[in-house]
């Protein structure tokens, strides 16, 4: 091993898998070896059995569907509002001066702390879940997009001006296309955070979703189901992240040449 020395594709893959194997190994050793009480931590085989039951007996697919729907619903609404606003802030400094302090303040308000308030306002239905995701994502996206757009290469803007572009042309044909890969990357990042908020939203006052299943299992001390729920969240997150990454690479091939 030498610093910054690249590792081959196959070796990288093997090393990545090796840690998962090691992890499950240590877990099996402690649970099956009787070092940990099954009440507190289920063993891998128990978890697999519980997972099977979840799908066949408890309609877990419906829970997964609900959670995914909430994440994407809240996230899409947040992105639809935040991206244009962020672009406007990045491009026009008076708009930034007007909104930036407030948005920065809001960004530090923890989305989960809003849950009691949102239940009061919107009940325990879907609106409340979507609002939690929305509040958790919208301010982050606005600020990050504004920074990316504001960091546009000045020389490209100047070149566009000398080619006859007006300020509308600068925004539409220089700032937005130049910032697009960065904006897509921001959305990918924030989508990851949205997954955290949805589970918290589902832990309280919910009748479906992965988070709801986890709370139910806690009451029954079914650690196998809890662990499987957490793993499912991780897997879905990983898959959506890969899909997003692949899409960005395809859409913005020019930025990775």
């Amino acid at each position: 091993m030498a610093p910054l020395e690249p590792v081959g594709a196959q070796a990288r893959w093997m090393l990545g898998v090796a840690f998962f194997v090691l992890f499950v190994g240590v877990w099996s050793f402690f649970t099956l070896g009787g070092f940990v009480s099954p009440t507190f931590l289920a063993s891998p085989p128990t978890m697999v059995k519980e997972a099977y039951l979840l799908f066949t007996e408890f309609g877990f697919l419906h829970d997964i569907g609900m959670t995914v729907w909430r994440v994407f619903g809240g996230f899409v609404i947040a992105a639809a509002i935040a991206v244009p606003l962020g672009i406007a802030m990045g491009a026009y400094k008076p708009i930034e001066a007007f909104l930036e302090p407030f948005v920065s303040f809001c960004r530090y308000l923890p989305a989960s702390a809003f849950i009691p308030l949102l239940i009061l306002w919107a009940g325990i239905g879907e609106t409340q879940k979507l609002l939690v995701i929305f509040i958790g994502s919208v301010f982050q996206i606005i600020l990050m997009v504004a920074v990316i757009v504001g960091g546009a290469r000045r020389d490209l803007v100047e070149a566009a001006y000398t080619l006859g572009a007006d300020s509308r042309g600068i925004v539409r044909r220089v700032l937005i296309p130049g910032a697009a890969p960065g904006i897509a990357e921001t959305l990918r990042l924030v989508l990851g955070w949205a997954w955290t908020y949805v589970i918290v939203a589902e832990l309280i006052g919910s009748s479906s979703g992965i988070g709801h299943m986890i709370t139910d299992s806690q009451a029954l001390l079914n650690t196998g189901q809890i662990i499987f729920g957490i793993i499912v969240i991780g897997v879905i997150g990983l898959v959506s992240d890969f899909a997003f990454k692949a899409l960005n690479r395809k859409l913005f091939a020019w930025s990775t040449i």
Binding site: T162, L163, D166, P177, G178, I257
Partner: protein, 262 residues
């Protein structure tokens, strides 16, 4: 012929104000005329304010005093009538070569077919046929600057402003680019204002060289270059060329030494 000046720079000066309120005079009042079809090079040591003057003509910077007139009209802000080629690579990385050259034409709302025709003409002119679908990062520095020249020319500006466009290129490429640009100028007869710190380049390209003083900048000398066209690179070893070079070397040397003392 002063009455046929296309570009007229009248008493243009520029003072920069620093963050702590201290001011730096970058440009003393400059008076300078460029006639139609002129190829003028502005020669000076680095940091002398010659680029600032060009940027003011382009409308990317503003003068603290004086004014710039293009065809008798006051210049306020940048516009398509003054095309510019920068020293840094300023092609839009998300557009391929063809669409980079089309940028200004599209912005102007030119019909698609006409855009295509103009772009094809200039792509051929700068020798980039076959590279239409390449992205800027896939091209060498010289090819990128050729595209930038085509992009500026396709817009059919009244005057072409060039800010050390070959400054970042290696010597061999730079010489080839000079010949290419001169060939285009000989054919198209555009008005060109070209900033450089390279004496050979200044003489080879120009029919007039303006020598800038060290900061604060002003035009110290103007020199007509009466070498015949078309010019071949071998002209650089002719006695006339050598004589001009000797004179300009002397002028620049004094200014570079003045600049180094600051």
């Amino acid at each position: 012929m002063a009455d046929t000046a296309q570009l007229s720079i009248r008493g243009v000066s520029r003072t920069f104000t620093g963050a702590k309120g201290q001011s730096t005079q970058a440009l003393l009042p400059v008076d300078f005329d460029v006639r139609e079809n002129d190829f003028v090079t502005i020669l000076g040591p680095s940091g002398c304010g010659k680029s600032t003057l060009l940027r003011i003509v382009a409308g990317l910077d503003y003068p603290t005093g004086g004014q710039v007139l293009l065809d008798g009209r006051n210049v306020e802000g940048p516009g398509a009538d003054r095309g510019m080629v920068f020293q840094s690579y300023t092609l839009f990385p998300w557009l391929d070569i063809e669409h980079n050259i089309r940028f200004g034409l599209r912005e102007r709302g030119m019909p698609e077919a006409q855009q295509k025709e103009r772009v094809d003409y200039f792509i051929a002119k700068v020798g980039l046929r076959g590279f239409e679908r390449h992205f800027p990062k896939q091209l060498s520095g010289g090819m990128q600057q050729r595209t930038a020249i085509a992009r500026a020319l396709a817009n059919d500006p009244k005057i072409l402003l060039m800010d050390e466009p070959f400054g970042a290129l290696d010597n061999q490429t730079r010489v080839l680019m000079q010949e290419l640009l001169l060939g285009i100028w000989e054919a198209e007869r555009k008005t060109v204002m070209f900033v450089t710190h390279d004496i050979d380049e200044a003489i080879f390209m120009a029919n007039r060289v303006a020598v800038f003083s060290a900061r604060p900048g002003r035009i110290k000398t103007e020199l007509a270059v009466d070498l015949p066209h078309p010019r071949h690179y071998t002209i650089k070893t002719s006695p006339e060329f050598m004589e001009l070079k000797a004179r300009l070397t002397e002028e620049i040397r004094a200014e570079s030494m003045a600049a180094a003392e600051h």
